[in-house]
Symmetry: C2
Subunit: 165 residues, 2 copies
DNA sequence: GGGAGTTTGTTGACATGTCATCGAATCTAG
DNA sequence: CTAGATTCGATGACATGTCAACAAACTCCC
């Protein structure tokens, strides 16, 4: 790693802008979500992913994978959400180790009443500020990066010390 | 809030892509940073912002504002970094309440040795995957959102209950 | 000058996330 | 079948972030 290629002015502007937007958008969306619906962003995400399945039920590991969370984190978080009556755990029929996360009626009500406001906030603070071309560009670019990061080669490098090609 | 305007297919693609990228990029950058430099992302950000000042010293509140962190969070974090010898606190000459955060030689070495690798990672996993047009678009769009979120009107809405216009 | 109100940074209690470990169940070879 | 390896989810210890409260210092303004 000799003479590092620093970011030029435009790249730096994009990178800093991205990080700043990230932070501010997070703060604002979380703030509105708590205020309007009494949910945290993680809460919302769990409920949202669950409610997208036909039965409102998902295997814990499956939910963790979709959310890109560790099973541990999800397990802890579910315990808290369970205490608030938003979800329940059920035993898994075909795999006795497994547990199935189930949306309770209260959980469904929570996400259904939170969603419109949250989507509106996402529009107000992000989507509606962009031109259609920018929306498409953002979609294209983020998916490219996601594909890159999900690449098996990278995954491998994370587990093995990696003998440089 | 009647009939909510949900996200259409393209908007949804952009929004999901953004969140997924956010998460994966975070994980990967944090992973490499810890492995290569023994720093967390928050550590890196603190050191980076400090090192961008001529003397490597900043008023705590000034640093907190730049980073968009609460003073409390920064204070806690500095305590930990101080224990690792990366920064020090000094008293502020013109304001006896204030404290000045100072980069130690070890802190400077840490950021200087971490920076090239980190920038390379940012390139590898983000910047170099984008076309020049996309870099510009990302810069433009993020700054627009940031300006919007930093808008005084919004700020006001956060403190006052706001009597709807 | 001096009291009311603000700002600054720290602190402790608590919420949340990470990491290593564990027991139980499942899978795989032989 | 069964011993060994793997996967699943829970858990406890710990790191990190948030929030409210606080003391000390500053600012206003009379």
């Amino acid at each position: 790693m000799d003479a590092p290629r620093w970011l030029d002015e435009r790249e730096d502007r994009a990178w800093r802008g991205y990080r700043r937007m990230r932070r501010l958008l997070d703060l604002e969306l979380a703030r509105e979500l708590t205020q309007d619906a009494g949910l945290s962003e993680p809460d919302y995400d769990v409920l949202s992913d669950l409610s997208e399945t036909p039965q409102g039920r998902l295997r814990l590991s499956e939910l963790a994978d979709r959310m890109l969370w560790s099973r541990s984190r999800l397990s802890h978080h579910l315990t808290r959400m369970q205490q608030r009556g938003l979800v329940t755990r059920e035993e898994c029929a075909d795999d006795a180790r497994g547990s199935i996360v189930v949306l309770t009626p209260a959980g469904r009500r929570a996400i259904e009443s939170a969603a419109p406001g949250h989507v509106a906030a996402v529009r107000r603070h992000l989507i509606d500020l962009l031109t259609p071309a920018e929306v498409d560009a953002l979609g294209a670019l983020t998916h490219r990066v996601v594909d890159h990061l999900a690449d098996p080669g990278l995954r491998a490098a994370r587990t093995q010390p990696a003998t440089e090609v």
